[in-house]
Amino acid sequence: MTQKNRLQGGLIDRSRSYTFRFDGKTMTGHAGDTLASALLANGVRLMGRSFKYHRPRGPLTAGSEEPNAIVELREGARQEPNTRATTAELFDGLVARSQNRWPSLAFDALSVNDRLSSFFAAGFYYKTFMWPAAFWEKLYEPMIRRAAGLGSLSLQDDPDSYDKGFLHCDLLITGAGPAGLAAALTAGEAGLRVILADEDYVMGGRLNAETFSLGDMAGHDWAAQTVARLRSLPNVRVMPRTTVLGAFDHGIYGAVERVADHLAVPEAGKPRQILWRIYTKRSLLTAGALERPIAFENNDRPGIMLASALRAYANRWAATPAQRVAIFTNNDDGHRTAADLHAKGVKVAAVIDTRPGQPVSTDYEVLQGEIIDTAGRLGLTRITVRLAKGGTREIECGALGVSGGWNPNVSLTCHQRGRPVWEEGIAAFVPGGTLPDGMTVAGAAQGLFSTHAALTSGAEAAAQIATDLGHAATKPDLPQAEDAPVQITPFWHVTDAKRAWVDQQNDVTAKDVKLAHQENFVSVEHLKRYTTLGMATDQGKTSNMAGLAIMAEIAGKTIPEVGTTMFRPPYTPTAMGVLAGRSRGTDFRPVRKTPSHTWAEEQGAVFVEVGNWLRAQWFPRKGETTWRESVDREVLQTRKSVGICDVTTLGKIDVQGTDAAAFLNRIYCNGFAKLAVGRTRYGLMLREDGIAMDDGTAARLAEDHFVVTTTTANAVSVYRHMEFVRQCLFPDMDVQLISTTEAWAQFSVAGPNARKLLQKVVDPEFDLSNEGFPFMACGEITICGGLRARLFRISFSGELAYEIAVPTRYGDALIRRLMREGQEFDVVAYGTEALGVMRIEKGHAAGNELNGTTTALNLGMGRMVSQAKDSIGAVLSRREGLNEPVALKLVGFKPVDPTHKVPAGSHLMTKGAPVDAAHDQGYVTSACYSPNLGHHIAIGYLKSGDQRLGEIVRLVSPLTGFDHDVEVVSAHFVDPEGERLRA
């Protein structure tokens, strides 16, 4: 196919030709083209099918506000649906497909919907697919989705990467048209740190699409020269291909930079897009204005577009949808399009102006009238004009430029709930209400439509901002530019039309707006939801205004009385990938590795995620075919001889100061003031509402020095809580806190041979005998000939056990040494599963029991809550509601039939009583197979459980159908007297 509609001139690079494919057809375009401009140059007007009626559509615009020319780009895993052909930068080898059509764009079977359109009016879905309810999920929704889908997903992983980043500036300027460029120049030369962002790949905004001169230069040359000047300033960051998506609190903006969307494949290691969080002192919105269409009968045929778009295609991209065009306008700007196209050698068949006294031309005919119909199945061939002087006229043309006036692009001014205000002089909304912190608006975005006004308002706004920020600013030499006043008589739609499209993306007609009003959807927000006007990828950038103007007309109100819908971020559609950034797959969040990780990997350990930690879950040995075999072996061998477990993940907090003991007395519900130096104590922390928060131990290393441990999961929140108590509640206690969790590698050495094993590594001057280092002792020691270490005689497993800590860098060496020295005892490494089994066998509470609903009383530790001191949570733990006689108590359970499991999460019911929530007796929190007892065991909470030992209760899980009897027993299944751990 040849570029039959390629014109002379333009800002494309004809020396570089690109081959691309659209719906399987190969064509050529040039560097600088968008997909839409290249298609138009190749004579393609039809680029998509509409959402609901599958009507043939071509581009309405030449920018990101495009509702119609929505295509799928690229192939394979990089296939991307719903991209706008009007902004997609052409590259060599680009492959694009039209969407929402079958079997082909020219013949779409579902265009039958268009014939049935009387059934599909606004609210059709709400009214039709209501009943029966079951049909919605199974039949209606899949059917509607297939019929009304936009693009399709590749269903493959995105092979590209995306970055996130952070930028700082004094002034963010959004939009690099004449106002933005003048502002950037002013602020940049004043020494401000400036970021100039524009969504386009060529900066200059409308200057690139117009033929005006600025001083003695073409507008686009001035833009290019100014951008070059800005790039030379070290304090200015020029960011093309960057869309500012949203204005957030306190001067924070979000923006997406499309680093590699214009390349077939991003460079190795480079992202495709970057999501920037921009911290600003001030911002200047110079986002220009968007032209709006007029609604009339069949105004959606391919070839009908905004007049400014027709002009932009001709001037910037040297492309036209047809060689014979017409213009329909209610303002003077429409005539500019006619003049520009005429100058490019395109035949202007007529300009139809709705106003009396319209400008005249010697180059083409100007008619006063309204377009009442159009023809052309897959593209415009003819328009019918109702002349003001009477009668109608048919005009042959392949394209029609429509100009209904311009809307300042106020989107970002609304992101902090600013509400635009109506300005009669330009018949449009301008920024109003509360703008985002620090935002100023200039140029067309403010409603100043001439190039002169854009330049001066941009420069003046920037100079004021520079002054505000303490910089001396001089206004730059700005070139002379056109300063035409706005001449417009509002005209929104041609009356009596049957199907005059207001929102082309959502197939909403002027009649649908009327229907909504008739059915009492009179609020503009209701109108939007009922008709879907202004939804989907374009968010009504070209359609909202006409929709609410028609609404106002029907309701007999003024436009400002009707008001606007709220604009929200993001300004344009944003890929999920860039919101995710690098946080995908295994990089979703950081991993924490224990000091023994490398060693455990060598042993073939199976790892489990515990928060961000990777912990060894069990250590399979050759011949073991199930995890249970490994875990049973680890448990039995630990209880028989000695086992080692990495417990580094438990939180460790260093508590120092002369008031350290007094502070812990506040933090823990039990007493710590009298704990002797060299001793450790179990402590239970309550929340202020009396619920158990966390438990652990506190070891007193010196009079003014404790080491507190927390559970792995709560290490962060407990530290935060302790800082709250220290800084906010008791600011004059002499106590200092710091986390040392990662500083020390800590291993549990448990089992009857634990002491013998440790004696082989602990330096001989330290007495480990039961008398010299009894249960709950702690101390600073040295090992292996002088390495500083800490030793705690504490036991989670219930065995004779120690926890030994060394500086983390030596953790790997220590576990290797312990395993080597332990060979004579058949030492075993055990993972978190065996740890869990042993603590359930001992009835020790863990996260399942400290689950945010349970109290010290529930845990069987009610008496630990000291009455003799004021500690966090003590008072509210004494509330009546938490101390009912039938309170839940932690007890053990064993199955009556020893072959049965005792699944955690199951609920307990009294024998013979109904199985329902009203008769619930409690629930099982933790369960396991006990290799020591040879059957499953569990612990859990049972109402008055401590008084029901020996009772047979029903354990049910209605979800899984489990229903068996269990016996209530003590939670201490193994060594209930605690003789082993004191041995």
Binding site: S161, L167, G269, G657, T658, Q736, A813
Partner: protein
């Protein structure tokens, strides 16, 4: 002398070194760390202790000296060569005279030093610190890929990232990825 072999935070015998387009990313393991927090009412004495130990005035908020950086109100981290100061916390405690709570922090952290001319381009992909405005002696704590890290600006072409040791692998991966992405 004990015979246990130390591993680096990345789990090797020797520190990791990476280079990319004139920039280096070096794992630093030969520095001992100890936190020094003033006891109540002894704030001036604690600052003086830091000054004595480091030979420079105790750094102000968000500042660092050659061998100390500010961590929080009346709290500093002191740095010293590991070979001679493995026992840094005890050495400082011995001089503290009860003015400060000193805690060994050497192995709580991993440290990666980035050197090169375009460090700001790298760090703007990692964290919200405004590195382009950093001069030597700046020290901030912020999040890099969810990890709380200190950024110590030794000079505009030399920044130390001190992050949680257990996540050294994730932090190194993030830093190296950002280098390759940004440069």
């Amino acid at each position: 002398m004990h015979d246990l072999i130390a591993l680096t935070p990345l789990g090797a015998r020797d520190p990791r070194r990476d280079h990319h387009l004139g920039h280096s990313l070096i794992e630093v393991t030969d520095v001992a760390l100890a936190s020094v927090a003033a006891r109540l009412g002894r704030e001036a004495d604690a600052a003086a202790l830091v000054a004595t130990v480091t030979g420079a005035e105790a750094p102000a908020p968000a500042r660092a000296t050659a061998s100390a950086f500010w961590m929080g109100p009346d709290q500093w981290m002191v740095e010293a060569p590991f070979a001679t100061h493995e026992d840094l916390a005890r050495q400082i405690t011995a001089q503290a005279n009860g003015a400060a709570s000193v805690t060994e922090q050497t192995d709580a952290w991993c440290r990666f030093d980035l050197k090169g001319d375009r460090l700001a381009d790298i760090f703007e992909r990692l964290c919200n610190a405004d590195l382009r405005r950093f001069t030597g002696g700046k020290a901030v704590r912020t999040a890099i890929e969810h990890l709380g890290c200190f950024l110590i600006c030794r000079s505009p072409t030399h920044v130390s990232v001190i992050g949680p040791r257990s996540s050294a692998g994730s932090l190194h991966h993030a830093l190296l990825t950002a280098m390759k992405s940004a440069l």
